[in-house]
Symmetry: C2
Amino acid sequence: MTATRLRSTALRFAASLLPLTLLAASEPPPANPGPGDIIAAAPQGDWARIPADDLLVMDLAPDAKGRPRRVVIQLMPAPFSSGWVSNIRKLAAVHWWDDAAIVRVQDNYVVQWGDPDAEDEAKAKPLPAGIAKVPEGEYVFDRKGVNIAAGNSGSEPWTGPDAYAKALGFSGGWPLAGNDDHVWPVHCYGMVGVGRNLSPDTGSGAELYTVIGHAPRHLDRNIALVGRVVEGIEHMSSLPRGTGALGFYESPEERTVIRSVRLATELPEAERPRLEYLNSSSESFVAYARARANRKDAFFNIPAGGADICNIPVPIRKITQ
Amino acid sequence: MTATRLRSTALRFAASLLPLTLLAASEPPPANPGPGDIIAAAPQGDWARIPADDLLVMDLAPDAKGRPRRVVIQLMPAPFSSGWVSNIRKLAAVHWWDDAAIVRVQDNYVVQWGDPDAEDEAKAKPLPAGIAKVPEGEYVFDRKGVNIAAGNSGSEPWTGPDAYAKALGFSGGWPLAGNDDHVWPVHCYGMVGVGRNLSPDTGSGAELYTVIGHAPRHLDRNIALVGRVVEGIEHMSSLPRGTGALGFYESPEERTVIRSVRLATELPEAERPRLEYLNSSSESFVAYARARANRKDAFFNIPAGGADICNIPVPIRKITQ
């Protein structure tokens, strides 16, 4: 083994998921820029600020070493899942999740949180007034007026066909799938959805989950997606797996307590998360998506020639001002 | 919230990934059997024992609470990656990984282990004699003679097309992709591969990784897959993420020590893992794959009509005798 082997291997092997702060390599730009090179070179005008009003800040109890664990969730903009998103904003406004808990961690699937007493009618925490019952019709949206950019159609598609949908692409930085009439959000890693009972209109938004494994695309159109984790997903994905059925924790001690969930706008200006995403309609994003589908940067010898939409994570980065 | 809501939600929501020991529901068989129902009903003849000779048993240092952490890896059978698999058998035989460590955990990507001193020429652990240099030609295999069952072609395909490959399916319980001439293993969750440097022939097998996130299919044909984790993946996927570049741990204290790696055949008969997989050529497997692609069991309102091959995990279960 040479001294550089392990690091070199890792650098090339994982460049596609390199944190953005690390993407500006000190080496000269490669002949075949990779996704990271393209992101690093994207002009500021190709980045869009995520409004504080769309951010939920969830503070978990500190870890065993006393370190804080903050998870930031971006809520989907209208028209997507607007009924559930409205419920979630109301629940956050009344601090409904304070002292709620992460009750389930199922490997390669989901982390789920809410009222740990939800199953006990005597103890279950009542929902506040004004929580709407949302019809299942809101699982999909009229395709008219939704521009799916950088997709699998058009003159320069970045992906081949898909097992789950006729059309794929991004709109406003969100991964979407669609058919001739409708579009819907996609269950990629880190997306946040609404737990529900058997009837599709039973999810209030009080019980949420996030994907911590391979994209369970069969859930698309069958359960509501309302947002995605944009910071701190590692605080969810690295939690101990529950040993009960479906990854539920078997004792209260195993749960992770949620100290608070706040709309970022409720925090003092200085404490609000500041994040921006690469505009999915920008030239940089299209170049990034194509590079993800055709890796030719060092290490890659055989470009795939296509990409699964969940293998084209929308670049998101922290900003200071 | 009703008393049954949360549990009911979860039960339906995650049935597809329910541990097999839980799949034999006490309820009567549903009108539209789900994947779990089909697995539970599969006759014993549709299951195949995984030979102990194909199993690697990796014991990590106990967790913070002193609980043992055993990870079992099934090596791929010939002809797949046979050069690297042969190297790995030699390394295990000489106990090369004893006191090695998990050095990298990158969220939604990989866990990587090997010699923590690999970057230090003075300290790097030398490889034993007989470790072969494997040519990149072994990343793909002649399609002749490899029967890809339950795939995306044939009279009753279970999936639509794929962004990465013309053909998809399973052979001997392994997920494979292919084109007209070749087949290759697929980077699904839990698959184990060989770290390498820039040149495709630089991976010895001493440094390994496993996928703990969305399938990085762009790595297919670019890096060698040699097996999969068949037991204890949660001991890898729930490890704290590394905070260094690419998820490398920044201090030795953060690493998880590997106490030992043994071929199961080196263990006393009574201590060997006993596992079997659902034969991918069996009728039960084909029915299972189709059910994964067209969920019609309770909870699902809109069958996907197709499935990503990595959303059809090969059922594996422990056996007692």
